[in-house]
């Protein structure tokens, strides 16, 4: 029995780790979205966190906890000079500016010889276990969940619904938005640092535009009304390809394109029919049942 479990764990270890990492990345997008800001620089922040942590453990011999702290702190600090100018932009323009930032980070790393350019860093010591990834994810979830019910949470919600009105009511919208951008950067950086020490390598092209699109898809498919949506979306879309791996040969198509096709269709269906994400399905279903019970009574 124990042996069977151990086998199962060995087989699915990397899936379990990626559920945790993708959950962190989805939460990192959610932090900005929770005050209505579509900031898409998180692949860049994850790259900065990954490189900062990996360089510390490899070249400076720093202990892993210190490296992990740097993975969170360095991107958060980078978010300050980035956020001060770009957070004045609205909606789509903020999204575009932050996409530009992410690409500049990636191209900068490709051209930086000290970190091996496009090849990236290899033979990073493996320090991050699945358990550690999940502990960090749990801590991040708790933090964001507590934040939601606090005075902060109400301020963020007010900014999301109507920013000028929130400012009129005396909420310092600029500081809140910057704080959430920094928090999102820290979470993305943590995910990057953990990933680097789980897979032993980082390369700049792993942090391109498609990576941040993935994060956004996790969050949107799960739903961005609460912390649970991004977590559910990340888990669902990380496990789904594993579940579909056996399906692809049956349909006679490659697993990669099948995964893309299914992801695209799910995202489209969610945005068209379930704007609150998959987690709202449960609530909807309960409502319908309650309505039916009322009618019966």
């Amino acid at each position: 029995m124990m042996e069977g479990l151990a086998d199962l764990y060995a087989t699915y270890q990397s899936t379990l780790a990626y559920i945790g990492l993708n959950g962190l990345l989805a939460l990192s997008i959610y932090t900005s979205l929770s005050c209505g800001q579509l900031a898409l620089g998180n692949a860049g922040f994850a790259a900065i966190g990954a490189y900062a942590a990996a360089l510390l453990t490899m070249n400076a011999g720093a202990p892993f906890p210190l490296a992990l702290a740097a993975a969170a702190v360095v991107p958060a600090l980078v978010a300050i000079p980035l956020g001060l100018p770009v957070l004045r932009l609205k909606g789509i323009f903020l999204a575009i500016a932050t996409i530009g930032f992410g690409e500049v980070v990636r191209i900068g790393l490709v051209n930086w010889d000290y970190v091996n350019g496009a090849q990236g860093l290899v033979a990073i010591p493996q320090k991050a276990s699945v358990g550690l990834i999940w502990i960090v994810l749990a801590a991040a979830t708790l933090l964001l969940w507590r934040l939601r019910g606090s005075k902060w949470g109400f301020a963020l919600e007010a900014i999301r619904q109507d920013e000028p009105a929130a400012r009129t009511m005396g909420i310092d919208t600029a500081s809140y938005k910057l704080a959430m951008l920094m928090l999102g950067a820290a979470l993305a950086g943590l995910a990057g640092g953990l990933e680097a020490h789980f897979t032993f390598m980082v390369a700049p092209n792993g942090f391109g535009f498609s990576r941040v699109v993935d994060m956004l898809v996790f969050a949107v498919v799960g739903g961005i009304a609460s912390v649970w949506g991004p977590l559910f979306g990340a888990s669902f879309l990380t496990v789904l390809p594993e579940a579909m791996r056996d399906l692809a040969p049956l349909l006679g198509i490659e697993p990669g394109p099948l995964r893309m096709l299914v992801n695209g269709l799910i995202l489209l269906a969610v945005i068209l029919f379930l704007p609150q994400g998959l987690v709202s399905l449960g609530a909807r279903w309960r409502e319908r049942r309650a309505a039916r019970a009322r009618r019966a009574a």
Partner: protein
Amino acid sequence: MQQVVNGIFLGSIYALFALGYTLVFGVLDILNLAHAAVFMLAAFVALALVGHGLHILAAFPLAVLGAGLLGVLLERVAFRPLRARADSNISGLISSLAMATIFEAVAYLVWGPNVSRFPFGTIPESQFHLGGAVISRLQVTIIGVAVALFVALTWLVTRTRLGREVRAVAESPRAARVLGVDVDRVIAWSFLISSALGGAAGVLYALAFNAIQPDMGRGVELKGLAVIVLGGMGSMPGAVVAGFALGLTEVFVVANLGASWRDAVSFAGLFLILVLRPRGLFGAAALREA
């Protein structure tokens, strides 16, 4: 001189791509991230038509038309249902991403992940010299087609009834509706024209580099963003000028700093413009800041 020619040539493709991008943005305030997927599919459609024995001069307009129809499909499926929503510009961005993923998956399923090429002899090989630069007939044709399309679009937007209606909807959909404009029809036409331009850019790009891949749209997608931001979101002359500017700058950066810095130009430029002058070079002073 050679660099200038190459820059103008690359710039004309960027400009064509960005024109379609900025047209939809101007009309709807929506970023259509599936534009690059249409760019890619049009190239594949042209390839398939050439593969069936059609001459490239016949395949090109058909592929462009196909791209336009894809645009109409895109509008019906991904944008029209969301139009009434308060956050339609962000949800529209996400649904267009979904469509881009679906289009790309379809291209992988039909044509596979490898680079496809036009059969030998599709493209005339002849070259001539002009003031020390070597120019191929293909390059001249591509620049010529691009310029012809710029002229046609300018005429369409400034001189025709549809153009006036497009501009009215861009100004204010509500006011246009009050004045009797069929807003849904105008938006569908905008998507048709926009995607046709994107498709034309895709076929020309594929001919220029003779390489077609399902992910060929990705790089152009972000560069197109840089171009429309630089030119001023929604500004068509801006998109053309910025497209040529980017093409020329990239060619000079590759010649002087090396190929790996090429993409840094567009993103650093995009970033600086948004921070320093959000309306771009030619954009109207709209409310882009909160």
